[in-house]
């Protein structure tokens, strides 16, 4: 059934069907992006509040231990799930996948629209936990039982229930989205677009979507089981306990079971965040260095291998959990094995710069920043993956520094790079370059200043998730000075994000007109007949693909790039052949 003949797809006409209840993947992508950025700003403010307490302990009366742990928890959950996952898959994935594979839209546009509104509902339920008695949960984003549902931890009245409910709703949205992205990549690629001609951005998001479909169910069941333990008095995770002097009715459950379920989800989750970032960075570097990505096929295999291996490393988060010690051998080995394809990706990004024609545009600045910070984050992962080396460092600030570098700095730099890179396609205008450079320098140097020294506080042995370290003799006073320095850096970086937000909004009207392809990129999204692309993306006929996505600086070519839909010499241009419209 060809698209053009499909009777049930009309061009949306009213404001409401075009911009609100839209089934157009581009509008949905922007809805996801705006919502994710908005909730991310809440997460950023929460982190600044945490840093105020850590840098200047006791100076702010309203930050008591209870509130502090609520900030810690909500900051973590918002950033990992509601910002990073939603933005990479729902934002970048929705916008770029159909365009990059040459489709008119996702294969399930109605489901796509639903996924956004369910995501928004999840966000609302999550934020509602700030307004219930007892406030949001303060159990840490990992929500470990038994403490998450017992007195002594904030938010055990309503906050934890809303958190778990919100996660269940989010997983529904993520599943709807994931089905869309995977099916579209498999079924709706245009003629000539084989899997091994897809840009790495698509590979990254596609693999991440498969991971999401397979991993989120573990979080779903563990969340439901914890809700049952809390609301119905079951004992999935609750052994016999004397809580605050009171013996409880629970018995026989296993807290470690929750950790296995949570991390079976939680480890693939970090790759759900990292793989799209990897893909985006590959495309940013190749475009802005005018050079094909080095070792494209190895890059694809590395993404797939990392995705597959990500399911067998989870218990490296549990080396000191009290699980069977023999598991430590297995998980340390698999974790250090996963370092190999990851390292190959780093080498290939670096080798793409080798003998390139490097334009230090704002996207390229962020891409280089990504490599530098991701290398630190990845290398410190080698400490933590090696079971015995992990033991002294576990639950210290070394872990906090590691996961921020590898999840909170480098993917964020990839997001910024991607936004600066694709903004001209989405809006038809360039983001201001001076503001972009300012944003880059403060963010890059600032996050180094925040997280590099933090590793050393971890070496020292300062535990994480501490409200204060008053009176501990082994901690020198200089460590408190360092905490104050980190806080100042964090507040500075936080405030400077306003520069980026201003740029996003201001450039919609006042940015330099971009034209169709300001970066001279080869991938299909830059070859649309209209910029910004209109509904249906391609006009009367779908593009046809003749080459991979990395024909930059091809010897003998007139320009230093050849778009994917340009025929090879000697080919009959497909416009002379019967047009194939692809699937509905």
């Amino acid at each position: 059934m060809s698209y053009a003949a499909s009777a049930d797809h009309h061009e949306p006409r009213s404001f409401w069907t075009r911009y609100v209840w839209s089934q157009d993947h581009k509008v949905i992508a922007i809805q996801y992006t705006v919502t994710a950025i908005a909730v991310g700003l809440v997460g950023l403010v929460l982190s600044n509040l945490m840093r105020l307490q850590l840098g200047f302990p006791g100076a702010f009366d309203f930050i008591d231990p209870s509130s502090y742990y609520q900030y810690v928890t909500m900051h973590g959950m918002i950033m990992v799930i509601y910002l990073l996952t939603a933005l990479f898959l729902g934002g970048f994935g929705n916008y770029l996948i159909p365009l990059m594979v040459g489709a008119r839209d996702m294969v399930f546009p109605y489901l796509n629209m639903l996924s956004y509104w369910v995501y928004l509902l999840a966000v609302i339920v999550l934020l509602a936990s700030f307004f219930v008695p007892g406030g949001p949960t303060g159990a840490g984003w990992t929500l470990y039982p038994p403490q998450a549902i017992l007195p002594g931890t904030p938010g055990t009245d309503g906050g934890i229930v809303l958190m778990l409910t919100s996660l269940v709703i989010f997983i529904v949205a993520a599943t709807m989205g994931g089905l869309n992205y995977v099916t579209t990549v498999l079924q709706a690629r245009t003629r000539g677009m084989t899997l091994l001609r897809m840009p790495l951005t698509v590979w990254g998001i596609f693999t991440a979507s498969i991971l999401a479909l397979l991993a989120f169910p573990a979080l779903l069941v563990s969340g439901v089981m914890m809700l049952f333990d809390k609301l119905l008095g079951t004992s999935f995770f609750m052994p016999a306990i004397v809580s605050m002097g009171q013996p409880l009715e629970h018995a026989g459950g296993s807290p470690v079971l929750f950790q296995h379920l949570f991390w079976f989800f939680g480890h693939p989750e970090v790759y759900i965040v990292a793989l799209p970032a990897f893909g985006i960075i590959s495309d940013l570097i190749s475009t802005h260095a005018r050079k094909n990505i080095f070792g494209y096929r190895m890059m694809v295999w590395a993404i797939v291998a990392i995705g597959a291996l990500s399911f067998v490393v989870w218990a490296h988060h549990m080396y000191v959990s009290g699980m069977n010690p023999y598991f430590g051998y297995f998980f340390a080995t698999t974790t250090l094995i996963i370092a190999v394809p990851t390292a190959i990706k780093v080498y290939n990004w670096v080798l793409t710069l080798w003998r390139g024609d490097i334009h230090l545009t704002v996207p390229m600045l962020f891409a280089i920043g990504f490599i530098s910070t991701f290398v630190i984050g990845g290398l410190t992962g080698l400490f933590l993956g090696n079971v015995s080396v992990d033991i002294p460092l576990s639950d210290t600030y070394f872990v906090v520094a590691h996961f921020h570098m590898v999840m909170g700095v480098s993917p964020i730099l990839a997001i910024f790079g991607g936004l600066y890179h694709w903004y001209p396609k989405v809006t038809g205008r360039m983001l201001d370059e001076t503001l972009g450079k300012l944003h880059f320098w403060v963010t890059f140097l600032g996050t180094y200043a925040i997280y590099f020294p933090m590793h050393y506080l971890g070496f020292l042995g300062m535990p994480r998730r501490y409200y204060a370290w008053e009176g501990y003799e082994f901690i020198p006073a200089s460590a408190q000075d360092m905490n104050a320095f980190i806080t100042v850096a964090a507040l500075t970086v936080g405030v400077f994000q306003l520069v980026f937000l201003w740029n996003l909004v201001w450039s919609i009207r006042h940015g330099k007109p971009a034209g169709a392809n300001p970066w001279g990129a080869t991938s299909l999204e830059w070859q649309t007949p209209d910029t910004p692309p209109v509904h249906g993306n391609w006009g009367a006929s779908l593009p046809v693909v003749y080459r991979w996505a990395y024909d930059y600086s091809v010897p003998g070519a007139a320009r230093d790039f050849i778009p994917q839909n340009v025929p090879q010499d000697g080919d009959t241009p497909v416009a002379d052949q019967p047009v194939w419209e692809g699937h509905a």
Binding site: M244, G295, Y326, A339, I344, L353, D357, G461
Partner: protein, 375 residues
């Protein structure tokens, strides 16, 4: 160009930082020196890669920067180079994993002659138990736990009668002898962590976990909880005192056994009120912020508090008597001691409970040399 220079400066700055910073591992006080060595190996390998990648990028940013007439080379792949890089990386991985797993196998194999010590954790304090002459710890269960029987030992198990109970947060150990620490929790997840010993492990309610180490240096070493366990997590403090064997034996002999605790019963008269006050303080979470051993915490320490003259936040002084304490419990932020944040939550204690807590605080006037005293 600026970015290239910045990357070079970052490499220099991070190397300088590493060698100049005062923040490094605490001096090792246990047998796990091999762990420190593996840490150093890992640092050298990862450090070398970090420096090499950043400097290489910096060089390329200069050498291959865009300028008029410059064009990139078309270079899709190089299987041989990729092969070498993969092999080299795998070698580096093995160089770290091998010593790591070797040390690990040692860490999970306690020596057969290790002395057994139990650490019992709860929100938010530590208790300890030794096996006594029979070298067997008695059975325990949550159903035997009460305010007066915090360890939950089964009174019908003869093996438990000679168990030595340390109801205070200070654990003594003999220097040079391996110790197998069994970890038990009454309520939620905790983690027993002494930075100088390097090893740590979660306490998990419903199971018994373990670590082992040999203390090699005499001294006082702080215990920290390293698994978020609620609002008192950062105040769940304890101390490990490592000393000569003879001093240790003297200390151990002065600690009560379970048999003696059973015989003593619940106490009567004034003592009962103190015991009740201690129970209330523990179960209602006061101990999360108020230490009983003089150490500084979120709130004023209770040791020596009763009868003291304190300076309040507004500069005035007050005698800490029953009236002041009662008011502080009922209206926490009315008269805060200077230097402490106004973060104490209201506790809704009954009059009887308030009186009991005050009796307990009053009992903490003496320094902690007296054994069996509430701590």
């Amino acid at each position: 160009m600026a970015l290239a220079i910045v990357l070079i400066l970052l490499v220099v700055a991070t190397i300088l930082f590493h060698f100049l910073s005062p923040w490094w591992f605490t001096p090792l006080a246990s047998n796990w020196s091999l762990l420190d060595d593996t840490m150093d190996i890992t640092l050298v390998i990862t450090g070398a890669v970090f420096v090499a990648v950043n400097l290489f990028i910096a060089w390329m940013l200069i050498r291959y920067r865009h300028r008029a007439g410059h064009r990139a080379q078309f270079d899709p792949e190089n299987r041989k180079l990729e092969g070498w890089l993969t092999a080299g990386t795998s070698l580096g991985i093995v160089a770290m994993l091998a010593p790591g797993l070797y040390v690990y196998s040692d860490m999970i194999s306690p020596p057969a002659d290790a002395m057994v010590v139990e650490v019992l954790g709860q929100q938010w304090q530590w208790r300890f138990r030794f096996a006594g002459e029979d070298r067997k710890l008695g059975l325990s269960d949550t159903r035997f736990i009460s305010g007066e029987r915090p360890f939950g030992l089964n009174p019908d198990d003869p093996a438990g009668l000679d168990d030595v109970l340390v109801d205070a947060g200070e654990l003594h150990l003999p220097r040079g002898k391996p110790v197998l620490v069994l970890l038990r929790s009454r309520d939620v997840l905790h983690n027993f962590y002494v930075p100088q010993f390097r090893t740590k492990m979660d306490l998990v309610p419903g199971l018994v976990s373990r670590i082992w180490f040999t203390p090699t240096e005499s001294g006082r070493f702080e215990i920290l909880c390293a698994e978020l366990c609620g609002v008192g997590h950062s105040n769940m403090r304890g101390m490990v005192v490592v000393e000569d064997e003879t001093e240790f034996r003297t200390w151990l002999a002065a600690q009560p056994t379970f048999a003696r605790a059973l015989a003593a019963g619940a106490g009567d008269g004034a003592d009962a009120l103190v015991v009740k006050g201690r129970t209330v303080a523990q179960t209602r979470g006061c101990v999360a912020c108020h230490s009983q051993d003089g150490s500084r915490s979120m709130g004023p320490t209770w040791q020596g508090l009763y009868g003291k003259h304190e300076t309040l936040a507004d500069g005035s002084t007050v005698l800490v008597d029953a009236d002041y304490l009662a008011r502080s419990i009922r209206e926490p932020n009315a008269a805060i001691v200077q230097g402490f944040p106004a973060v104490m939550p209201p506790s809704n204690l009954s009059d009887e409970e308030v009186a009991a807590v005050i009796a307990f605080i009053e009992s903490l006037a003496a320094p902690p040399a007296v054994q069996g005293q509430a701590k």
